[in-house]
């Protein structure tokens, strides 16, 4: 009798948490425990929020043990205007070819003023250029990536364009015969 009640309770829990039916999520949870902050499913796509300290471990696990061989992209997101307690997060999208399955990792950055995350270029070599792009456009640093550089913005560019507080209204044209407005780069001769 008690077993039946327990059985039906367990089933109800699984019904209420569809993300727990997913093998990868369960394995990830048993590996990381508290490192997983949240699991969400939107429009059929799984998104796992992971603490920065667990990122490399999760990446290695997902790549080596769960078969997510390719990192499709990683993107920095400035959550300034979203109702979340952190400012920057980086989204990683992983692809498992065998099962044609995708999973997204969201890693909020601990520090709002100097966002920094460990690099995953040791796990997926192609991450290096994507991390450079996130650094260039959002200002998120990636520890362990020696090739971090500003790859999209021009040389000498200051500021991080994709941040929400970056002003994209009209900028006065800079001429070499007059002083540039404060904070803008000087024109070359």
């Amino acid at each position: 009798m008690a077993d039946e009640i327990e059985e039906s309770c367990r089933l109800k829990i699984e019904e209420r948490r569809p993300d727990e039916r997913d093998e990868d999520i369960r394995e990830l949870r048993s590996l990381l425990g508290d490192g997983i902050l949240n699991v969400g499913i939107h429009r059929g796509q799984i998104s796992v929020k992971i603490a920065p300290s667990s990122l490399v471990e999760a990446s290695e696990f997902l790549r080596n043990s769960r078969g997510f061989r390719q990192l499709t992209f990683l993107a920095g997101v400035d959550c300034l205007e979203l109702p979340v307690p952190y400012r920057f997060k980086v989204t990683y999208s992983l692809l498992d070819f065998e099962r044609a399955k995708r999973i997204r990792l969201e890693v909020p950055c601990a520090d709002d003023l100097a966002p920094c995350l460990p690099s995953v270029s040791g796990v997926w070599p192609g991450a290096s250029s994507h991390e450079s792009e996130a650094y260039d456009l959002m200002g998120i640093e990636f520890e362990g990536n020696e090739n971090l550089e500003r790859i999209l913005t021009p040389d000498g560019f200051e500021g991080y364009p994709h941040r929400k507080d970056f002003d994209i209204s009209a900028e006065p044209v800079v001429f070499s015969f007059r002083e540039a407005p404060a904070g803008k780069p000087e024109a070359a001769e």
């Binding site: 939107h42 429009r43 796509q45 998104s47 061989r69 390719q70 990192l71 499709t72 992209f73 993107a75 997101v77 400035d78 205007e81 979203l82 989204t91 999208s93 070819f97 044609a100 995708r102 997204r104 997926w124 070599p125 192609g126 991450a127 290096s128 250029s129 994507h130 792009e133 456009l137 500003r150 790859i151 999209l152 913005t153 021009p154 364009p161 994709h162 970056f166 994209i168």
Partner: protein, 407 residues
Amino acid sequence: MSSETDQVAALDQDTLGPIQTETMTLNMGPQHPSTHGVLRVVLELEGETVISCRPIIGYLHTGIEKNMEVKTYNKALPMTDRMDYLAPMSNNLGYVLAVEKLLGIEVPRRCRYLRVLLAEITRIQSHLVWLGTHALDLGAMTVFLYAFRERETIIKIFEKISGVRMMTSYFRVGGVAREPYPEFMNDCRAFLEVFPSKVDDYEELLTDNPIFCHRTRGVGAMTADQAIGLGVTGPLLRACGFDYDIRKKEPYLAYEEFDFEVPLGDAGDIYDRYRVRMAEMRESRKIAMQALEGMPEGPLMADDPKVVPPPKEQLAYDMEALIHHFKIFTEGYHVPAGEVYQAIESPRGELGYYIVSDGSPLPYKVKVRAPSFSNLFSLPEMVHGGLLGDVVAVLGSVDIVLGEIDR
């Protein structure tokens, strides 16, 4: 090739004695006819051998993704055309599918078939540009003219259907921009019927051509493992023998209803990439024919008046239509909050749109996962140890478009 380098090395030590040698740094681009766009490649050479290669991008960065954040979803759509400007309908498709996913709306079957037809014709058109420019880099100028002659036919169809030769913005959220013109199906059929013989012509010029083979066989090879680690997708990955095509594995639109093969290479060199793309043109033609023959009847646009603007005539007598039209074109439609990543198989690989919505009519964040971005950064792997002349051949075979790399 490697024996020549050994001979040079041997010469250095035995004959030249204590003469100092150093590597030469050569800059290729950003203005260069063979970099296929404003790409700068810094090469370190030991004689003619490439020791290292560093691609430098950013010369075409126009901040499209940032710009999309201040426009409504419909207004942001034409900006997507300009990224991969050689396959504009592909870009539109990826964006439109992502927004439709966020909105949770489905387009009718006829629209899906039409989108498949146009997406495959776009693939053919994009591969023709690749073929023409790649062959031109290697000296085969005739192929360039033939390929662009075929492409003209396609571009004329695009112009008749959307008003624009290249940046069509024909695919819209909830459907397409307008009904195809009356002779559209006949025009497509006429082109698709003569196309296979044209592909035969190109293959006759290149496939068994000794000069072409000598420049492409065994050159610029990459293993599937290297490619996967670097994020390479598309024909570049399939030429390494790895079978993954999003149209087959994660079907979108109506691809599961069509019968087509996914061509694979095995050596991962330039020649295999050429064979894969030529075969892909034939497969695309097959899919397009099936979409054409099997085009169902029915509505073209999704049934959601808040997203799909009403027909113009209705505005004259229907107040609700007028209000919907006004709201769609001024304020825009509210997209439910959430994030979505939609990937499609563009002619260059996996093109994906990662859109974050905060519930407002403007996208909060758009990240475009451009296939050429990852494909380009596999260049150092491919040219290392090769000759300088091979760099041009390899770059052509990667089929990059700087517009989507830099955005």
